[in-house]
């Protein structure tokens, strides 16, 4: 089981001085992780945000995260690029057809409650633009 590969969605926050370092390159080359970047942004303050999937064994992923943390980078273990406020959501379901990976979907047929599976979110931000209730926002 130890060698079984898993995929984890992560969000990195890079403080000002770390944006020029090729951290992703080292994740691939030295830690043998398969990387799929969904969204990245460098702000005018030179801070960086990155939301990505990493695929590898648990051990490789942990080593990679430990490596990333040596750069003073904050690691969130679930995709927090898009945040859905459960209280603001009215569960109308308007967003559902616009969500390409079906991260937003009708959870229950009888109550028609909407569920958000953030591990499936590809950060396209369609929900943020269209939600009439402003229930979805971006962390950056």
């Amino acid at each position: 089981m130890k060698d079984q590969t898993v995929t984890k969605k992560l969000m990195f926050y890079f403080p000002r001085c770390e944006c020029d370092k090729p951290i992703i390159y080292h994740l691939v080359k030295d830690h043998h992780l398969i990387v799929n970047v969904f969204r990245a942004k460098v702000t005018p303050e030179e801070e960086g945000y990155l939301v990505l999937d990493v695929t590898g064994t648990e051990e490789e992923i942990q080593d990679g995260i430990d490596f990333v943390k040596t750069f003073n980078v904050t690691v969130n273990y679930s995709g927090k690029g898009v945040i859905r406020d459960e209280e603001l959501c009215s569960h109308c379901g308007y967003c559902v057809p616009y969500c390409p990976p079906k991260a937003l979907k009708i959870e229950s047929g009888s109550t028609r409650k909407i569920a958000y599976d953030e591990s499936k979110c590809i950060e396209c931000l369609a929900c943020i633009r269209i939600c009439p209730f402003n229930a979805c926002t971006s962390a950056f």
Partner: protein, 396 residues
């Protein structure tokens, strides 16, 4: 056969049998119509969705010295002041002053009347800015102050049109994306949107307005209010299925209730990209089970309700009246409908989840004896047709 008085007596004594419009069908299938009509006192219906003809009258009380407001803004949203000195009407689709609207399309429409109403009900502090031309009796020419709903003498929601009996399914047959009050519609029929609680919706459970009329007590965002008139554009005289269910818009209700009694989770400002602002409201209406016929109609199921599919790319804006076809709400809720032999993804602007919550909240209030039914004092019309606005030459 039961009367309103008998049902209210059972409610007051805590013995009323109340089911939601979501539960009643299976109950009747199990018990039979006759037995169920004897047993069940009330079926609760509900809806939660954007309802653009909504707003409120506010009374601010008098400042020292007094002002006769001739122009006024709440949180920079213009209110109507063509009333007595410190009465205003705030409409939910009014945009905030300075909003660029669709100048750079599609506009975001982040804040407007609907949001002000939500903030008022949530108890937030808001700015009032008012101007006046000044009179001998009302000398003050300008006031800027801050208030909450508690500071107001009255905050009465008065909505000329809520609870559309049925509604269009919007689709876009043009070759470009359009932004409508029915949401963002992709070109070439890529998606569709509908807006109704279907089998839970008040007027779909009472299609001929047998129990819902002027005077009916309603649950309006948590407050007890009532139907004060037929809604604007009320047009009962539409095509109906053999069971009497309208195959399009049809009936509407004009509702009022005290905003100070409302719950903020059922009064929500909404922003439609590229279109504008509005107010989403939660409404519950009890149907008294007076006889078998009333119960039978309250047993309507999503599969029995047909909604017209309309092209918002051309036919809706050009008012051609053309309908592409009809689909039922069971199909709509499956998330896909067939149009021109192709499957189209469907979304909803009306929240069934919230409607169900409201139907249950209302049912609980009735069971506890806190919500009594009111018999209509006059019925809603069944025959009226919708009139168009005719462009005429100036009179000579």
């Amino acid at each position: 056969m039961k009367t309103y008085e008998q049902i209210n007596h059972r409610i007051e004594s805590g013995k009323a049998v109340v089911l939601t419009a979501d539960e009643i069908m299976d109950y009747v299938d199990k018990k039979g119509l006759h037995a169920a009509a004897e047993e069940v006192d009330v079926v609760t219906t509900a809806t939660f969705g954007p309802m653009c003809s909504s707003g409120c009258f506010l009374n601010f009380g008098h400042s020292k010295p007094k002002i006769r407001m001739s122009e006024a803004w709440i949180a920079d949203v213009l209110v109507y002041t063509g009333l007595a000195a410190v009465d205003v009407y705030l409409g939910c689709t009014q945009l905030r002053h300075g909003d660029p609207a669709n100048m750079y399309p599609p506009g975001e429409f982040r804040y407007g009347g609907g949001h002000v109403i939500e903030d008022l009900v949530a108890g937030k502090k808001l700015q009032l800015f008012a101007l006046s031309y000044g009179t001998d009796c009302y000398p003050l020419r300008e006031i800027r102050t801050y208030f909450t709903i508690k500071d107001l003498n009255q905050a009465i929601m008065v909505n000329p049109r809520n609870c559309y009996q049925n509604y269009n399914v919007a689709i876009n047959r043009s070759d470009h994306t359009i932004y409508t009050y029915m949401g963002k519609l992709e070109p070439r029929q890529k998606n569709a949107n509908y807006c109704s609680a279907g089998q839970l919706s008040p007027l779909l459970n009472d299609p001929y307005y047998d129990t819902i009329g002027v005077g009916t007590r309603v649950w309006l965002a948590g407050a007890q209010g009532h139907v004060y008139a037929e809604g604007t554009q009320h047009a009962g005289g539409v095509a109906r299925t053999p069971e009497g269910v309208p195959m399009g818009g049809a009936g509407t209700l004009a509702l009022t209730a005290d905003m100070k009694q409302m719950r903020k989770e059922f009064v929500r400002g909404v922003s439609f990209i590229g279109y504008g602002v509005s107010l989403a409201l939660g409404i519950g209406i009890p149907i008294p089970i007076l006889n078998e016929e009333v119960l039978k109609r309250a047993c309507v199921r999503d599969r029995d309700i047909l909604a017209p599919v309309v092209d918002y790319g051309t036919d809706y804006p050009q008012n051609t009246g053309k309908v592409i076809g009809h689909v039922n709400y069971e199909q709509l809720r499956s998330g896909r409908i067939e149009v021109d032999g192709r499957m189209v993804e469907v979304g909803s602007l009306s929240s069934y989840y919230k409607a169900l919550e409201i139907a249950n909240l209302l049912a609980d209030e009735i069971r506890k004896g806190d919500f009594l039914l009111a018999a209509p004092i006059s019925p809603l019309g069944r025959d009226a047709k919708m009139k168009p606005l005719v462009k005429r030459e100036p009179p000579r």
